[in-house]
Amino acid sequence: MRRFTRRDVVVLGVLLGIPILLDIVIIWGPTLASIGLSFTSWDGVGDIHWVGGDNYKNMVENYPVFWPAVRHNILWLLFLGLIATPFGLFLAVLIDRGVRFSRFYQSTIYLPVVLSLAIVGFMAQLILGTDQGVINTILNNHDNPVDWLGDSHINLWMMMIAASWRHTGYVMILYLAGLKSVDPQLKEAAAIDGANERQTFFRVVFPTLRPVNVIVGVITVIEALRAFDIVYAVNKGRNGLELLSVLITDNIIGEASRIGFGSAIAVVLLTVSLGFIVTFLVQELRGARDR
């Protein structure tokens, strides 16, 4: 190996050093601080008191919104992953096959992607509001209005549908780009070999979309974790819309500064997220090696 000149060392040091420093300050510092703070009681102003595992015990045993929030976080992941994302793929395939007006569909379905999830939340309220919402007005059920946003059995599903409205278009455009790049000769070869449409898609086309699948998978996980925006815009993530990210906010931000307790919830969210991300990455990397 060639010896580096002093200049090389300085350049390398700066180029590597700054990202590493940023990584430590922005990623590792806060992560470790959260883990540390999760064993303390702190109101954000006064002294920090060490309380050991009390926050975790309290969270699991006494905090009634904790388990629902965990459940909702997982539900969001499953709903987007198993329903919204496959639906986006389905739309992409339909449009790629050239149904009539496909350019029109392509644009309209993609359009919501430019909106932030918080905006989608505000729109959902205009549509789903109890007294003044569009749907209840059309249904004309003043005496017994459906409480789309207030009924904790319904509101989560409504929010997931609203979020999917945006998510589906995003997934669709990614798959559409992927499908366009699939070599038509592959399909012809499959047809000559006697494969029907379905077999061609699942056995030939879909496996070639692997790089797109990875991106879509990551985006689906990110979107599921970003559900905070929409539920917070609707009712501050209360009454059936609880998420771990909401509980963290509730406890850390605001007059109610239970920073230690909030950090403990943050550590749980970190573990949940890492669990999904690590599993996903291991799968993908292993898959890539096998190929």
Binding site: V51, N62, P64, K236, N251, I252, E255
Partner: protein, 422 residues
């Protein structure tokens, strides 16, 4: 660098605890202009915003100084208050009396203004007490508004309804309204409006002293007295308009204005700001009905809003000069001329221009034996926001499981009130 600063620095990235404060700090020039007082305002609704603007303009004219108002959304202001006070707060800011003021005074985030109070006249002892923590004053009261049962006069006349005095009459009226297709307005999407009903039932059933010590964490939530509050409340539930948890207080206020609902437990500004000006004379109220004759209608819930100085205020002299003026009857008159939904706190304020509703409100409060501030102002903010909002929403969603609810509140209360503070 002390340990506290170090950890606070680490927390910047962790939860963005002080990030917005830092960002806003970038926009501020160094030092601060001595001829300009900045005011942090949570008065984001149009009516109070305009009224405050008039009051500050009056001060600018009188003193020759400038008042710069930074208005934030009401709820956002409340949620960010902790960071706000630790970051770069305005010289003067709007906030609430009672426990919520004392909480910040205790934490050392407020500036003592006992010297300003020395020059005040026209404030009752009760008001002074609400402005005091540990013998020192921190708060200048500006106006208050009572909570009561609000309704439209014309609707009561046309349907032949009578204002009830007792709980039985109240339930009978609610039942009749529900049958007539104008149920009792009810909302709790925002998480706090239903607290007013809890407070009143508790004070009527168990008395003010019990309520106050319950709020202070000294009573057990599993006490039969508390369960009785929920059980009593449940009698009213069938006559509420449906879907309370999906309805904001604005929507409930509008339903009252549109004659779709018959009455509502509200604070005075809630129906007031949802009625067009031409219909405001049609608003009337009655005191929350008596449940136990022993406590009758003694207590009135009347939150007081006012002004405080942050410890980190840059222009202390300017802030105190402004507060001195805000404590005068003239300052309250200027405000109330444009906001008829509140009542002045100063005895010297001009009541001759009061609307019938304001006169009645002033009477209600002056006749009260005790005054409460509202649940989220009478107890620890962390308890009110992380425990009680959820508990009351759960009760509205499922009014039957009172035992489970009370046990859950009590368990959470114990952990919160016993967690080390300071």
């Amino acid at each position: 660098m002390s340990r506290r600063n170090l950890l606070r620095g680490a927390a910047v990235g962790a939860g963005a605890v002080t990030l917005p404060a830092l960002l806003s700090a970038c926009g501020d020039g160094p030092g601060g202009n001595k001829n300009e007082v900045t005011v942090g305002s949570n008065a984001s609704d149009p009516v109070p915003k305009k009224a405050y603007a008039a009051a500050f303009t009056a001060y600018e004219k009188k003193s020759g100084k400038k008042v710069k108002v930074n208005t934030k959304d009401h709820n956002d202001f409340q949620e960010n208050i902790n960071r706000y006070l630790q970051g770069t707060p305005d010289d003067v800011f709007m906030w609430f009396a009672g426990y919520r003021m004392q909480y910040f005074a205790e934490k050392g985030l407020l500036h003592e203004i006992s010297d300003v109070w020395g020059g005040f006249s026209g404030f009752s002892d009760a008001l002074k007490e609400q402005s005091t923590h540990a013998g020192k004053q921190y708060f200048v009261p500006y106006y208050y508004y009572p909570w009561a049962v609000f309704h439209r006069k014309s609707l009561f006349q046309s349907k032949g309804y009578q204002q009830p005095k007792t709980w039985d009459e109240f339930i009978a009226l609610a039942k009749k309204m529900s049958k007539d297709g104008v149920p009792v307005a009810f909302c709790d999407k925002d998480g706090w409006p239903a607290m007013g009903t809890f407070d009143y039932i508790d004070m009527r059933l168990n008395g003010y002293d019990f309520h106050k010590s319950l709020m202070a964490g000294k009573e057990s939530w599993t006490d039969t007295k508390v369960k009785n509050v929920f059980d009593t409340w449940r009698e009213l539930m069938p006559y509420y308009q449906k879907g309370a948890l999906g309805r904001t207080w604005e929507e409930a206020g509008q339903s009252l204005q549109q004659r779709k609902t018959g009455m509502a437990v509200f604070g005075m500004p809630h129906p007031g700001t949802q009625f067009p000006e031409s219909e405001r004379d049609d608003i009337d109220f009655f005191a929350f009905p008596e449940i136990d004759p022993q406590y009758a209608q003694d207590a009135v819930e009347a939150p007081i809003d006012g002004f405080l100085v942050a410890r980190k205020s840059k222009n202390l002299d300017g802030a105190k000069a402004l507060l001195k003026w805000l404590g005068t009857p003239k300052a309250e008159d200027t405000y109330l001329a444009l906001d008829p939904n509140n009542v002045a706190v100063n005895d010297g304020a001009d009541t001759s221009k009061y609307s019938a509703l304001q006169k009645k409100s002033a009477q209600l409060v002056s006749g009260a034996k005790q005054i409460s501030q509202f649940m989220d102002r009478d107890t620890r903010p962390d308890f009110a926001s992380t425990v009680m909002i959820k508990a009351i929403q759960d009760f509205i969603g499922n009014p039957k499981d009172v035992d489970g609810l009370c046990n859950s509140i009590e368990r959470q209360k114990k952990t919160i009130f016993s967690s080390p503070v300071g």
